[in-house]
Amino acid sequence: MLSAPRSTKRLKLGGVFFVFVAATIWSWLYIKMTFSTLFGGFDDLWNLLQYMFPPRFDQMGQVIDATIETLWMALIGTTASVILSIPLAFGAARNTTPNAATFAVCRAIITLARAVPTLIIAAIFVLAVGIGPLGGILALALHSIGMIGKLYTEAIESATEAPRDAVSSTGASKWQTILATIVPQATPTFIGAALYRLDINVRESAVLGWVGAGGIGFVIQTALRGLDYSRALAAVSVIFVVITLIEISSNRLRASIIGEQSAVITKNQKARKKSTERDHKILLKAVTLRKLNLPWTSERRLRISAVLFYAGLLILALVTIKIPIISSFGYLDEIFKTSADLFPPDFNTARPEIIRGILETIAIGFVATILGLLIALPLALLAARNIVVNRVIYSGTRLFMLAFRGIPELIVAVLFVSAMGLGPVPGTLALTLGTAFFMAKLIADTLEEVAPEPRDAIFATGATRSQEFFAAVLPQAMPNLVSQTLYLLDVNLRSSTVLGIVGGGGIGFLLLSALRVIEYQTVGAILILTFVVVYAIELLGSWVRKLVE
C-alpha cells in the first residue's frame, strides 16, 4: 500500500470536501446559475458602466456632504462600539471575568451582535428612530461589537500571565493588577482592531442609505432610481477614492502601531537616525535631571498628536452631524419597543417565502465563494512576490486588487442589479467579485509567508517551477487556504443575507418587505433564522479549521 493511511481525520476531511462540493453544485442549480448568465452578467455590467461614463460631477456639494456624513457615521459608530466592547470584553475573557454568569452573558452578546448584519439592524432601527444617520450609527455600533468585542477578548486572553502574578504578589487588587499588566499588553491590539473596524465601517456606512439610515448610499440610490447613471457613477467614484485612501492610511497606521515604530513619520534613514539621536538626548537629560514625567520623545509626541487628532475629529463629527446627541438616549425607548414587537416570532405566515429566502441565501454564499476562489487563485499567484518574481507584475496586481476592494460589495451588487435586473444571480456575481479580490490578497499574503528552505531543497533536485509549486508551496499553504476559504464562506453568507435589500436575492428582500408592511413578527422569525444559519456556519468553520491544523 503506497497511499496515505486512512485515519479518521482524513476520512472526516474527505467527507467535508464532498459535502462542500455537493452543496456548491446544489447551490448552482438552486439559483439557476448558468455559464451564459455568468459571463453575460459581466457583459451587462460592462455595458452599464460604459453607459454611465463619463461621471457627472455637477452636484458635488450634495455628494461631498453625504460623503462626510458617511465618514462621521463610521467614526462615531466605531467609537461607540469600542466603548461598549471594552467592558464586554473584560467580562468575556476567561482571565478577567468576575463570574460565570457575566462570562456567559458577555459572550452571548458578542456572538449575537456578530450574527446580525449592520444593514438589517439599521433597517429595524430606522423604524424606531426615523430616517437619518442616527439609526445607522446605532446599527454600526451594535454590530461592530461582534468583531471588536471578540478581538478585544482574544487580546486580553493572550496577555502573558507572568506580570500578573508578579503584580498581584505586591498586594495590588484585581483591577489594579489588570490595569497595570493586561491593559498595556492589549492596547496595541485594541487600537489596531478599532482602526481595522473603522475601515470596514466606512464601507458599511456607505450603503446604509439604502434603508434610510444616512450617508452617501441615499444619494446613490436616488440617482439610480431616477436613472441618472452619470451622477450615480460620480458619487460611487468619490466614495471609492475615499475608501481606498482610508484603507491605505489605516493599514499604515496599524503597521506602525503593531510594528511599534514610527515608520510613517520618519521614512528615510537619515531622518530616522537623527530623531533616534535626539530621543536619546532627551532621555538622558530627563534621567540626569531626575524628571518624574515621561520625556517628550518622538514616539510620545506622535502618540499624543494621534490622540489629539482623533479627539478633534470626533468632536467635529459630533458637532456637525445631524443627530440629536443628548435626546438620542430617549430613542432607546423606541428601540426597545420596536425590538419587543419582533416577539413572538412568526414562522408561519410567510413560511414558503422564508424557506426559499434562507435556501437562496445559503446558495448564493456557496456559489460566490467557489467562483471567487477560482478567480482569486491565479490573481494571488501573480501578486505574491515570491512566486512570479517580477516587480511590475506583482505590484501591479496588488494595486489592482487594492483598487477593487475599495468598492463596497453592496454597491457592486447595486450596479449588477441595475445592469441585470432583480434576482440572485446579480447578487452572486457581486459577492463573487468581492470575494475574488479579498481572497486573492489573503492567498498572496499566505504564499509570501511560505518558508523558503523546503522550496530551495526541491529546486535543488532539479524540479521545474510548477513541480516545485505543487511539492513545496502548496502543501505549506494548504491549511491557511482552507481556513481562508471557510472564512470567506462565512463572510459571504452574512453578506448574502442583506443582498436582498438592494434586490440581489436571498432573505434580505423578504425582510425588507416584511418591515414595510409592518409584519414585525415575521421579521423576528427571519432574524432568528439568519442568526442560526450564520452561527451554524461559524461553528462548522471552526470545527473544520481544527481538523486541518
Partner: protein
C-alpha cells in the same frame, strides 16, 4: 530536625502539615512543616518538580493549601479574605524567574506597580501615580543601578537588568520578607552573580527575611544561613548552612540523579537537532 529554629520567638512564617494536591491529581506538597524566624536567609533546594515553587506560592497566597495551615505574620493565608491577603502580600516581595515585567511599560512604571498595594483604585500610566512615589521609584532604580534606564521600555533590557528592575519593584513594596523563585535561573553566570549579590546586599541592609529557591547547590550554601531540601513534596533536609558541604545535600537529589540527567539530555535535545539542521 527544625527544632533549633522553632525555639526562636516570633516566627514570620509557619507552615504546619501543609499539603497541596492540584486539580490534576499531583501531590505537590506532602505534609510540610516549616517555621521561619524573622531575619533568616533560607535556601530551598530540590530537583525539578519537587515542589519548591509551590511552597513559595503558598506563602503569599498564590496557591491555597488543600491540607494544613499556612500562617504568615500571624495571619492564616489559607482562608484569608482578599483584603487580608493583600495586606500580607504588601509585606512580601516576590521575585520570579521570569521577572514578570510588563514589556511595553517603562522601567519606572514597572517599579511603580510595586506601590499599588499602598494605593486605592486602579492606576494607568506614569502620571496616575503621586509625584512622591515616582521619586521613590526612581531611587529604587538607582539602588539597583538602573536609573539611567528609567524611561526605557522594559522589553529593551537584558535579562539581568530585567531582574534588577523586578527587585526594585519589590523594594517599592517596602517588604519585610522576600521570596525569590529561581531568580537567576534564566540568566548567564555573570549577571547571575551580579543579581544574587544585589539581592543579598539589599536583604541584609533592609534586615529582610528571605526565602530563595536555587538550582545551584553551591550558591545555595554560600548565600543562606539555613538550607531546606524538598523531595517529592516532602522536607528531607533542614539544617544550618554553616559547615555544610555539597556532599551533605546530594542526598536531596539522590533518587533524582538519573532522571535528572535524562531531563538534562531532553532539554538539550531540540537544541542539538536545531544545530544539525541549520
Amino acid at each position: 530536625m527544625s527544632k533549633i529554629f522553632s525555639t526562636e520567638a516570633d516566627p514570620i512564617v509557619s507552615l504546619t502539615k501543609v499539603s497541596k494536591r492540584f486539580a490534576t491529581g499531583t501531590l505537590a506538597l506532602d505534609e510540610v512543616d516549616l517555621v521561619v524566624p524573622r531575619g533568616q536567609l533560607l535556601s530551598l533546594i530540590g530537583q525539578s518538580g519537587s515542589g519548591k515553587s509551590t511552597l513559595l506560592r503558598h506563602i503569599n497566597g498564590l496557591h491555597k493549601p488543600t491540607g494544613g495551615e499556612v500562617l504568615v505574620m500571624g495571619c492564616n493565608v489559607g482562608d484569608a479574605k482578599s483584603k487580608e491577603l493583600r495586606q500580607i502580600r504588601k509585606n512580601i516581595g516576590f521575585v520570579f524567574q521570569q521577572f514578570g515585567l510588563v514589556g511595553r511599560a517603562t522601567c519606572l512604571e514597572n517599579v511603580l506597580t510595586g506601590a499599588l498595594g499602598r494605593l486605592a483604585g486602579p492606576r494607568y500610566g506614569l502620571v496616575s501615580y503621586p509625584k512622591a512615589l515616582r521619586r521613590e521609584a526612581f531611587e529604587h532604580l538607582e539602588r539597583v543601578g538602573l536609573d539611567s534606564q528609567a524611561f526605557q521600555r522594559a522589553d529593551t533590557l537584558s535579562g539581568g537588568q530585567m531582574q534588577r528592575v523586578a527587585i526594585a519593584r519589590s523594594l517599592m513594596q517596602q517588604p519585610v520578607m522576600l521570596l525569590a523563585d529561581e531568580p537567576v535561573a534564566s540568566l548567564d553566570p555573570e549577571s547571575s552573580a551580579q543579581v544574587l549579590e544585589l539581592l543579598l546586599k539589599i536583604s541584609i541592609e533592609e534586615k529582610m527575611t528571605v526565602i530563595v529557591t536555587l538550582h545551584q547547590v553551591e550558591l545555595a550554601i554560600d548565600w543562606a544561613n539555613r538550607i531546606v531540601g524538598l523531595r517529592d513534596g516532602k522536607v528531607v533536609l533542614d539544617r544550618s548552612a554553616i559547615g555544610l558541604t555539597q556532599e551533605d545535600v546530594m542526598d536531596v537529589y539522590r533518587r533524582a540523579d538519573r532522571s535528572n540527567d535524562l531531563a538534562k539530555q531532553e532539554a538539550e535535545f531540540p537544541k542539538s537537532v536545531a544545530s544539525l539542521s541549520s
